[in-house]
């Protein structure tokens, strides 16, 4: 059990470091995907099946693809290494990293998970059904708020991507491009 944990952590840390240091952006994105997959494996090793699979589905399947699409659509198909370092990028990066770490530490120490571990409470058996019930009863408000936020984001994205009314949507002969 412990050796599996060490191997996983080594994989995660190596791929995370590679994601930071590799010079080609696409390589960095692929290493980041490996990091996500490693984190999912860590969840699985801790017995959190649902979270682990959701992590793979969302981070490897969607977020990584989003990152890759963003790279391909904005910079030269990511073929050439073009990471330029400005003088302050190291300082800014470290500052942002420390800020995130601080936020995480504060919220972690505020949660009661740490106290439960310290008090050595027996771990509860969690199955998907109970998680679903909790989501639909105790956590229904955050769930709905998240849903609303995502819907708003999606509508915004659609509006951004919508073609202009005049001129667009016609082909070179002035005929309307078929829909469906």
């Amino acid at each position: 059990m412990k050796s599996a944990f060490i191997v996983l952590v080594l994989v995660i840390l190596t791929s995370a470091a590679a994601a930071v240091w590799l010079r080609k952006l696409v390589h960095a994105a692929l290493c980041l995907t490996a990091t996500f997959a490693g984190l999912a494996a860590l969840y699985l090793q801790l017995g959190a099946e649902f979270v682990g699979f959701a992590q793979i589905l969302i981070y490897v399947g969607a977020v990584a693809m989003l990152v890759i699409f963003a790279i391909l659509l904005t910079r030269n198909a990511g073929m050439t290494p073009e990471v330029r370092w400005s003088k302050h990028s190291g300082i800014i990066g470290t500052a942002i990293g420390l800020l995130v770490l601080g936020c995480l530490l504060i919220s972690l120490s505020a949660s009661n998970g740490i106290r439960l571990i310290a008090a050595n409470t027996p771990e509860p058996t969690i199955n998907v059904q109970r998680m679903g019930e909790q989501l639909m009863t105790r956590c229904v408000l955050p769930l709905e708020v998240l849903g609303l936020l995502l819907t708003a984001a999606m509508i915004g994205a659609v509006i951004l991507a919508m073609p202009e009314k005049h001129g667009e949507g016609l082909d070179s002969d002035g005929r309307k491009i078929d829909e469906l």
């Binding site: 390589h27 649902f50 699979f53 490897v60 391909l72 073929m79 082909d171």
Partner: protein
């Protein structure tokens, strides 16, 4: 009973030959070997079936030179693929180019682990089995991108972009149509879902999900989305030969190409197996009383799987390829709303459980057919049927 359990008993006997500490590892090794062996064989059979079937559809004999009726054609194909030169483009990204076929094939093979092949033949019964299936399936997008980008070829990259856009678009209707099944059976475990389809009405009509209005709609949506997810015709734009050579596999040769091919077929098997499990009653016999006969349950499962494979091949021989914009419109404007409406219909079906069967059926059918017709009419409204103009080929 022996016919049903001989595989499990064989596994127990083999595992018991080893010391206790090794047994879990040996057990999973045996399961993995069996799964790989069975599906690699099925891969060989399916390639032959596909070539023969397409041949018959196009009024030609298909492969008929190697062995009786061309039966050994897959063996010849395998030897050819193995002995071909493996060419990697000089400008390709060597590491990513090498890893792409592995990243494609390994997760697809993992997906077989949760499918219940028979009453006793369940590799692992995961509490969140269905989620596991889709989670490992999402790695295919990464693999397609890796293959397309690393080849350093514009056709590869175009094919990869098409493949990813298509897979992301059709994943939504695919997953949402399965949510209907989860709502009815109340479980994400595939074993539980098969159990929910046990028994039958009057001992004659099986309780398969496909025999309910929401199940039928869900099955059709699922199957259409599955066609697109596995990049099969008529959704085979990512490798449209006449447009972009071979899509993201253009720069692959020899056995790496075979691995991609295998990945596509394995994906097809996995998704057909899932369709069988979710909608077609899994390993249950088509008539409930047949469940108690000597015929082992996995025979029924693989029968249904082969039937679905036949439909895959049949559609490939029948339908022309879609255009990219048609594909996207079809997924986002038609399949996705229908899948969402199907979720509402499931809720309706569930809450009208005390109604007489005919009333329930009528209500749910209307609730499904009305939006289907309305959506179709709305999308077809500005469509004028006329001879097709080809801009670049007169």
């Amino acid at each position: 009973m022996l016919l049903e359990t001989w595989l499990v008993q064989l596994k127990h006997w083999m595992v018991n030959l080893f010391p206790a500490g090794w047994q879990p590892g040996v057990g999973s090794l045996v399961s993995v070997t069996v799964i790989l062996g069975v599906f690699a064989t099925l891969f060989a059979v399916a390639t032959l079936l596909e070539r023969k079937g397409l041949g018959r559809i196009q009024n030609r004999p298909g492969p008929n030179r190697v062995g009786p009726w061309g039966l050994f054609q897959p063996v010849a194909d395998g030897i050819k693929m193995l002995t071909k030169e493996d060419i990697v483009p000089l400008t390709a990204d060597q590491v990513v180019h090498f890893l792409a076929p592995i990243v494609l094939l390994a997760p697809v093979t993992l997906a077989f682990a949760v499918i219940p092949f028979g009453r006793k033949l369940v590799p692992i019964d995961l509490d969140a089995g269905l989620l596991f299936f889709f989670a490992v399936g999402s790695a295919a997008e990464v693999a397609a991108f890796m293959a397309g980008w690393s080849s350093h070829n514009k056709y590869s990259l175009l094919g990869a972009m098409r493949a990813i856009a298509q897979m992301i678009s059709f994943e939504l209707p695919l997953v949402i149509s399965t949510m209907a099944v989860i709502m009815m059976s109340g479980s994400l475990s595939l074993v539980e879902i098969v159990r929910a389809q046990d028994g039958g009405v009057f001992g004659l009509i099986p309780r398969w999900h496909v025999l309910t209005p929401w199940g039928l709609a869900g099955f059709l949506i699922f199957f259409t989305a599955a066609l697109a997810e596995s990049n099969r015709s008529p959704f085979d734009l990512p490798e449209g030969e006449s447009e972009i050579i071979g899509g993201f596999m253009t720069e692959y040769s020899g056995f790496k190409y075979a691995l991609f091919f295998m990945g596509e077929y394995f994906g097809m098997f996995a998704v057909s197996g899932l369709a069988t499990t979710l909608f077609l009653g899994g390993w249950h016999a088509p008539l409930p009383f047949l469940d108690r006969t000597l015929v082992p349950s996995f025979v029924w499962f693989f029968g249904k799987l082969l039937l679905l494979l036949f439909v895959f091949i049949w559609l490939r021989g029948t339908l022309p390829r879609l255009r990219v914009d048609q594909l996207m419109n079809f997924s986002w404007k038609f399949l996705l709303p229908l899948a969402l409406i199907n979720l509402l219909v499931v809720a309706l079906w569930r809450f009208t459980a005390s109604w007489p069967l005919a009333g329930r059926w009528a209500l749910c059918l209307v609730a499904l057919a009305a939006p289907f017709v309305a959506l179709g009419a709305a999308l077809m409204r500005h469509r004028h049927w006329k001879p097709r103009h080809y801009r670049y080929a007169r």
